[in-house]
Each structure stands twice: as structure tokens, then as C-alpha cells.
């Protein structure tokens, strides 16, 4: 997509409602290539909504504000076009699709992306090679890809599968929605390593999390605290430690 000038993502005064209930009340956020952001916040503060709205989930209504991604009005695009522009959402609750194997799912996704870039579809051999390579990134058991997407996966396996999909699609901007929740320490390390291996100066990550623990592995450049639909504080990675030690109330009351 050419060179990135300034901000890759620019969210201005974003207001979002669902069934007349406002969830986001004026979010401002700028993300540049090469950055890792963390968004923290209490339950119900709007973290997942923010990620879902950016990915194009249509149950939400944007009532005010703009989102510009790579110079394009993101909110005008259907979810698949956002993905083809390099946006990725790691789901908090990855969806099970019985009957659709991960191989066929990823083949469809990768080839759509290649079509968009005017590249021919990968041959079966090339595709399997790519799969094997990316499975290694998240230390995933190769038998998983022949099974239904997320079907019968444990919580940890589902999250690992999200990172695997991210590795396959090589997005430029990835939102990871509570990818750490439900993970034991080993799985957390694997998932975090996956992210770190995929990190380059040209892409960016926004990690949504409740716990500082993940941020020991994925070190953020900027930490934001979201409360009642608004980012109330942004700071360096020390802000995450402050949240961990003193709780959200302390920060909410101080602002």
C-alpha cells in the first residue's frame, strides 16, 4: 500500500451505539507503523466494541466520528475489504464452524487476499508449505488444520488458532481482543512469541487486555485506559503496572 505517512490509523471522536445505548462516547486513537498499543479498561468499558466496530461488525451503529486507515474511510467498507487492506481482528471468542476445515478456510482467505493483490492463487503444495511454516510460529499441532475451524478446541487452542490465522494473513494492523484470557502461562508465552515474531517496523498491533501479565511478553509502546467509552488516560508501559497495582478505580478517580 505504498509508504505510510504519519498515522496508519486515526480514530477521531468515535461514538458508537447498540440499540440506542451508547457504548463508545468519543474515542480518539492514533496508531503508527511499528507501534504496539495496549488498551486496558474495566469490564463493559467498550474495548471489545471498539475492536468489533473497526473490523466491521454491523450490529453497532456509528453515530459520530471518523476512522481513517491508510488514508481510507474505514467505516465505509464491508468487513472483507477492511481485511484485504490489512486489518485483522483476533476474536475474544473465536467462532466454531463445524464442517469447514481450517485448511479450506485459510485457503479461501489467502487466495482472496492474493486476488486483491493481483497475484495468482497458491498451488496446493505452496499453500501447505505456507501453512506448515505458520503453524510452527504458534507451535500448533498440524492435525488441527484438518479439523473444523475451532471445533472441539480448548480456549487456549482457539487463541493459538487466531494467531495462526494472523500469521497466514500477515496484516498491517492487528487488534487482538483479549487474546490472553483463558490462557495458561505456556500458551500465553506461545501466543506472545507469535506476535513478537510477526512484528516488523511496517505493521502495528493493538492488544486489548485485562492483565498486565501479557504485557510482560508483548511490550507496548503506549498504554491506554478506556473507561465508559472514552480513553481517559494514555501513557508508557508503566501505566499498565499502575493499573495492576492500584486498580482502575484509582486511575478513574484521578482523572
Amino acid at each position: 500500500m505504498g509508504k505510510t505517512q504519519g498515522n496508519m490509523l486515526e480514530i477521531n471522536n468515535l461514538h458508537v451505539s447498540i440499540q440506542d445505548r451508547e457504548i463508545l462516547s468519543g474515542v480518539n486513537l492514533q496508531v503508527r507503523a511499528g507501534e504496539v498499543h495496549a488498551i486496558m479498561g474495566p469490564n463493559g468499558s467498550g474495548k471489545s466494541t471498539l475492536a468489533a466496530v473497526l473490523a466491521g461488525r454491523d450490529i453497532f451503529t456509528v453515530t459520530k466520528g471518523t476512522v481513517v486507515y491508510k488514508g481510507v474511510d474505514l467505516l465505509a467498507l464491508p468487513p472483507e475489504e477492511r481485511a484485504r487492506l490489512g486489518l485483522f481482528l483476533g476474536f475474544q471468542y473465536p467462532v466454531e464452524i463445524p464442517g469447514l476445515t481450517s485448511v479450506n478456510f485459510m485457503k479461501a482467505a489467502v487466495n482472496e487476499q492474493r486476488k486483491y493483490k493481483n497475484l495468482p492463487p497458491l498451488s496446493s503444495g505452496e499453500f501447505l508449505k505456507l501453512m506448515r511454516q505458520k503453524m510452527a510460529v504458534v507451535e500448533m499441532d498440524p492435525s488441527f488444520v484438518g479439523r473444523g475451524v475451532n471445533v472441539g478446541f480448548s480456549g487456549g487452542e482457539k487463541k493459538r488458532n487466531e494467531i495462526f490465522q494472523m500469521a497466514m494473513l500477515e496484516p498491517t494492523l492487528a487488534f487482538l481482543d483479549e487474546t490472553d484470557s483463558g490462557l495458561d502461562v505456556d500458551a500465553l508465552r506461545v501466543v506472545a512469541n507469535g506476535v513478537n515474531k510477526l512484528k516488523t517496523k511496517d505493521n502495528a498491533f493493538v492488544v486489548i487486555t485485562h492483565y498486565q501479565r501479557l504485557l510482560d511478553y508483548i511490550v507496548p509502546d503506549i498504554v491506554h485506559v478506556l473507561n465508559k467509552g472514552r480513553i481517559i488516560k494514555s501513557g508508557s508501559k508503566e501505566l499498565a503496572l499502575e493499573v495492576e497495582n492500584k486498580g482502575y478505580d484509582h486511575i478513574i478517580n484521578a482523572t
Partner: protein, 339 residues
């Protein structure tokens, strides 16, 4: 009929396939015995009779039944298959129409599976939007016999499938599968009855349908367990996907059990495409239309998975996919695309 053979030149099920043609119900080859298979003409010069001995499980038999313009009137004929003790066979039955007449075809099929016989049977129903097709299948299974039956209703104006399986002696196993895809004004009926007349038999039914536009379907499925048919295991599932508000499915699963030591279950569902699943697929860059297709293919996956012949299964997956893309309904001569 060199012309019919050319039109339906079939390479799908592999080189070892033997093709038998019926044109307007009339057998196109001379009766006789070949490799343990005795072929003759059915009653009143229509339909066929087949008596099978030996193991033919690796060499599928394909019965290609074609309706031509020479007989636009309603047609009725009976096919009879008998598998001798221990015989094994794989039979693919394909039904086609050569012209867009208002064909009406009633096909009776009588199947007898003697002790230890094993039949894998696949019906491909692929006619056109004005045809009426009726299948009446009656199967009797004796000791340790096994029937695996797959019915694929891909295209047709009105399709009615009536299947009755009688499990007569211990050890008989009967697996009945069906897939029906209907759009426009098509109507499809399935009436399935599995009768456990003996103890220690197993049966399972898996029927799935996808209905689009104003299509209608009915599924009636009965599991009957006779008095004394102990240690019966019988399962039935019917799942339906409705793509529009106008599509309709009526499903009537039924159990009639007169024995007390049995394991039986039935389940029926009617649903729509899963919104969250669609969003998940689209969020990976797959366009909406393709996401719809992937979800529908995922839905029918387990029915197709039961088709053991790999070449036929791969071909079926392609056919179902193009059917779901709506490609068949756009084609005036749909008959040329199949098997």
C-alpha cells in the same frame, strides 16, 4: 444408443466402472451374466434385474437412467437388486432428462441383501425444474447385511423419495443419508421408514437440506422397533437451513418403540446461516457471497463425507458447490454436467 453414451461419457468413478443404460426405462444391453453379475430386464420390458455374487466393492456399477423425447408420458418401472450371501457392490444411480418435457418418472427399487452382503448405493437426482420424480425404495436386510444409501437431490421440479428398510435378522446395519438442495418453486419430500424387525440391528439416518427462494421440503422419518427387537441401536437426524423467509420445511421425526432394551434417538433442527460465523469468515477477507457458500458447504460436509468412494465424493463436492452457487439453475441443459 451411441449418442446417449457419448453424452454421458463418465470418467468420474474411475476406470473400473461398468455403465448400464436405461432409456425411458428400457435396458440398453442384452441380458446375460458377466463376472458374477446377472443382468436381465424387469417386468413388462422395463427396468432391470440384477443378481450379484462376489466382491465388486472396488468396481462401481453405474446405472444411468435417461428420459428422452420419445416418451413424454408418465413412466413407471421397477429395478430389482439382489446381493447373494457375502456379495459386495457399489452402485451409483444417475437420473437425467434429455429435454425439458414435463417428465414424470416413478421408479421402484427392490433390494434384497442376503447374509453378510454389503451394498453401497448412491442416487443422483439431477433433472430439470419441470420434472416430477418419484423414488420408492424397499430394502430387506438379512443376517449381518449392510446397506449404505446416499440420496442426493440436486435438481428437479418435484422430487419424492420414499425409503423403507426392513432389518430382518440380527447384525443387519442400515445407514441412510440424504441431501436436498432446492430453490425457486421446487418441492422435495422424503419419507423414510426404518423397521427394526429383528434384535441386534443398527441403523442411522442423516438427512440435510438447504432451501432457497420459495422452495418447500418435507421430511418424515420413522424408526420402528418391533416387539422383541432388543439391543437395537437406531439414530435419526434431520437438519435444515432456510436461506429465505419464504422457504419452508416441515419435519416430522417419529419413533415407535415396542422393545425395552434399545438405544434410539432422533433430532431435527431448522436454522438460518450463522451471522457471527459469517462475520468471522468475512473478517478474514472472504467476500459475503463466498462466506455464504463456505457456510453452506460446511453444513452439508458430513453428509458428503459419508460417501466412501473418494473420486465420487470429490466430484459431488464440486457439484454441490456449483449447485449452491446457482450455476445449475442457470443452465438449460443441466444434464450434461453430472456423473
Amino acid at each position: 444408443m451411441p449418442e446417449v453414451k457419448r453424452v454421458f461419457q463418465c470418467t468420474v468413478p474411475g476406470e473400473n466402472i461398468r455403465q448400464v443404460f436405461l432409456v425411458d426405462g428400457v435396458l440398453q444391453e442384452s441380458p446375460g451374466t458377466q463376472n458374477g453379475i446377472t443382468l436381465s430386464t424387469g417386468p413388462e420390458g422395463r427396468g432391470l434385474k440384477m443378481h450379484i455374487t462376489g466382491d465388486h466393492s472396488e468396481n462401481p456399477l453405474q446405472i444411468i437412467s435417461v428420459r428422452s423425447e420419445n416418451l413424454p408420458e408418465p413412466l413407471e418401472f421397477t429395478n430389482t437388486w439382489e446381493l447373494a450371501p457375502g456379495a459386495k457392490a457399489q452402485i451409483v444411480v444417475c437420473d437425467h432428462t434429455l429435454k425439458e418435457h414435463l417428465y414424470q418418472t416413478s421408479r421402484y427399487s427392490h433390494i434384497t441383501l442376503r447374509e453378510g452382503a454389503h451394498l453401497d448405493l448412491l442416487f443422483m437426482q439431477n433433472e430439470h425444474g419441470r420434472s416430477r420424480y418419484w423414488l420408492d425404495l424397499d430394502a430387506r436386510l438379512y443376517k449381518d447385511a449392510r446397506l449404505d444409501s446416499h440420496i442426493l437431490s440436486l435438481y428437479g421440479g418435484t422430487i419424492e423419495n420414499k425409503v423403507k428398510a426392513h432389518l430382518q435378522e440380527p447384525g443387519a446395519v442400515c445407514n441412510l443419508d440424504g441431501l436436498y438442495l432446492a430453490d425457486g418453486e421446487q418441492e422435495i419430500k422424503y419419507n423414510i421408514e426404518v423397521r427394526h424387525n429383528s434384535k441386534e440391528c443398527q441403523s442411522s439416518q442423516l438427512f440435510k437440506g438447504i432451501l432457497d427462494n420459495s422452495a418447500k421440503a418435507w421430511f418424515e422419518g420413522l424408526i420402528y422397533v418391533a416387539p422383541g427387537a432388543q439391543s437395537t441401536e437406531a439414530f435419526q437426524a434431520n437438519h435444515n437451513l432456510l436461506l429465505t423467509r419464504d422457504a419452508k420445511i416441515t419435519t416430522m421425526p417419529q419413533l415407535e418403540i415396542y422393545a425395552d432394551d434399545v438405544k434410539c434417538s432422533h433430532g431435527a433442527t431448522i436454522g438460518r446461516l450463522d451471522e457471527m460465523g459469517l462475520f468471522y469468515i468475512r473478517s478474514r477477507g472472504v467476500p459475503l457471497e463466498q462466506a455464504h457458500l463456505l457456510q453452506q458447504m460446511a453444513f452439508v460436509h458430513d453428509v458428503l463425507e459419508h460417501v466412501r468412494n473418494h473420486a465420487i465424493r470429490v466430484r459431488l463436492e464440486k457439484m454441490v458447490e456449483s449447485r449452491l452457487r446457482g450455476e445449475f439453475s442457470k443452465c438449460a441443459h443441466c444434464t450434461m454436467h453430472c456423473c
